[in-house]
């Protein structure tokens, strides 16, 4: 007994120490390995302490699962990390649900305790919810199905009824002396599955970081409750750890979007565009200056003169010359990557641009918004894969005071996270959302696919400012053109 508890504490401390090492990119790799080592110890300890008659068969399944995991882990591309994590979350949740299910099948005849009735029902429900929710998330992220948020009639009601009914069954389970127990469990599992399905069905693309974090948390909570059900300390403690981690990330993501978890789960319909794009913006020349549109408005700065000159020279060549002048003069440059960069697979082009700029003796930093991409920290991984040093990747709080000292900001496939409307306008979906203050820089070049609003549907006020130059098109093509201008 005392040994069991001691070993459990040792393993959980091993996990905690692993996470502690993850606080710095220098030690993070060893943190992960320490976590893996603790996991191996946990599995070995379970083997040692249980009846070893079924040892070899269990080992076969472990090896099969491990091999599949290894192949999966080795073959996925970094761009597909969000759906990979979602898929693994789903497997974790399903495994926890199956553990309690199997435990129920085994023990249901033998005077089971009340704690077990309650916890096994709960673990089954949460595990099933994690599984179906994750599978829907994978389908969405992989673009296989439900790419657009699906909002059914009475969607919210269906979801609430499923969750409440499952909760009710669990409570009835505990309060009755277990007579309907075995009949209730399949229903709880089904309710959990449908709750996960309906919950994720109406989530839109840019809300994915929140949902993935939440599902991550659920997979931990399911494991933790399953641990309570089968009275396994290591399982209960480690599951709680994962649950907490997921909740922390969920909260960070919600804050970075200035939205409550509730409003995310309630589904999202992008606001209607309030103003139609001016027709002058509609022609298809690849390079246009934002000044074109901005100059017509009440832009009373000195820039106006320059901007007027600009609007006379509408040909691509002139605009390109202007862009290369700006790049040439810039000493301090901040690059703002967004999901558009990932979609265009422009990371390597961005790395080449970085090398070219640094080759000219310019200082370059990257500004990473917490919700850029489809999962927390997504951009950092993609840029690291392209070979960019992490010292250059700055988060929101660190980089925001520096924008006003920047000569040039290059935006690559990011829209909502740099939209000044978040500060200026009231009542839009992004109002109050913390943004990267790209507009404060001397010049801004926007390398987005087009001038359409981002996920929020709010027109980007940045595009209309006179110091902002737009370079519309596929970032994988436009960024190399910028690189040419540097050289």
């Amino acid at each position: 007994m005392a040994v069991t508890i001691a070993i459990a504490i040792l393993i959980i401390v091993g996990f905690l120490a692993g996470i502690r090492l993850m606080q710095s990119p220098r030690t993070a790799l060893w943190g992960n390995r320490l976590g893996a080592l603790s996991m191996i110890i946990a599995i070995a300890w379970t083997f040692i302490t249980t009846n070893q008659a079924a040892f070899s068969t269990a080992l076969i399944y472990i090896v099969i699962g491990g091999l599949i995991g290894l192949i999966l882990g080795q073959s996925v591309k970094m761009i597909h990390m969000p759906q990979t994590v979602a898929l693994l979350n789903g497997f974790g949740g399903a495994a926890s649900a199956l553990v309690v299910w199997a435990a129920v099948v085994i023990y249901h005849g033998e005077g089971i305790e009340m704690l077990f009735w309650g916890t096994s029902g709960l673990a089954l429900g949460v595990g099933a919810l994690t599984f179906s929710g994750s599978i829907i998330a994978v389908l969405k992220l992989q673009g296989l199905a439900f790419r657009q948020p699906v909002q059914l009639k009475f969607h919210g009601h269906i979801l609430r009824v499923a969750i409440l009914l499952a909760a009710l069954l669990i409570i009835i389970n505990i309060s009755l002396p277990g007579q309907y127990y075995i009949y209730f469990l399949p229903i709880i599992a089904l309710l959990g599955l449908s709750a996960g399905f309906f919950m994720t069905l109406r989530i839109g693309g840019a809300d994915m970081p929140i949902v993935i974090s939440l599902l991550n948390s659920f997979s931990g909570i399911a494991a933790s409750i399953a641990g309570l059900a089968v009275e396994n300390i290591i399982l209960a403690g480690t599951g709680a750890l994962v649950g907490v981690a997921g909740l922390i990330l969920t909260r960070i993501m919600c804050r970075a979007m200035n939205r409550s978890l509730f409003s995310v789960l309630a589904g999202f319909t992008p606001g209607k565009k309030e103003t139609a794009a001016p027709s002058s913006k509609m022609d298809k020349s690849a390079v246009k200056t934002g000044a074109l549109a901005g100059a017509e408005e009440a832009e009373k700065e000195k820039k106006e003169i320059e901007a007027n000159i600009e609007s006379d020279s509408t040909t691509d060549e002139d605009a390109k010359i202007r862009l290369s002048e700006i790049i040439d003069q810039a000493k301090r440059i901040i690059i703002v990557p967004g999901y558009g960069m990932a979609v265009a697979q422009a990371q390597n082009a961005v790395k080449e641009l970085l090398d070219a700029l640094e080759g000219q003796g310019k200082q370059v930093k990257f500004a990473i918004h917490p919700v850029a991409g489809r999962m927390p920290g997504h951009m950092n991984v993609l840029l690291a894969e392209a070979g960019i040093d992490y010292d250059k990747l700055m988060d929101l709080d660190a980089i925001n005071p520096q924008f006003e000292y920047a000569d040039l900001v290059i935006i690559v496939g990011a829209c909502d996270v740099v939209n000044p409307a978040a500060n200026a306008a009231e009542g839009t979906p992004i109002s109050g959302m913390p943004i990267l203050n790209a507009e404060k820089a001397k010049h801004v070049i926007v390398c987005n696919i087009d001038e359409k609003p981002g996920y929020s549907g709010v027109d980007n006020l940045l595009y209309e400012q006179s110091h902002v130059y737009s370079f519309w098109g596929d970032a994988a093509k436009t960024i190399p053109q910028l690189t040419e201008m540097v050289m």
């Binding site: 068969t57 491990g66 974790g92 991550n216 641990g227 209960a236 480690t238 310019k362």
Partner: protein
């Protein structure tokens, strides 16, 4: 035993909260995939159940074993791959530092 279990659960959650909160946004993706691997800890539950399982329940716990192991190995391995890519200043910059103020 039950008491010890609850105490450890709560202690793990509180300590975890403090430690995880200090992980920088730079590493949030590896953090999440690492935590993801940890949620595969349910493999030990699956193992315990599998070993005591009578013939009827074997299939369920075998499925749990496989899924949990995919979760564990897949999670740790993608984290390993990602973290290997994170590199600090590779070359000493020849560029003169310009103050950002």
């Amino acid at each position: 035993m039950l008491l010890a279990m609850f105490i450890i659960l709560i202690a793990a959650a509180l300590l975890g909260y403090r430690i995880i909160s200090a992980v920088p946004p730079l590493l949030h993706t590896p953090l999440m995939s690492g935590m993801n691997a940890l949620s595969g800890i349910t493999v030990i539950g699956a193992l315990a159940v599998f070993i005591t399982a009578p013939a009827g329940a074997e299939a369920w716990s075998a499925a749990a074993l496989i899924l949990a192991m995919i979760n564990v190995v897949g999670g740790f391995w993608v984290t390993e791959r990602m973290l290997r890519m994170f590199k600090g200043k590779t070359k000493e910059s020849e560029v003169q530092e310009i103050p950002w103020q």
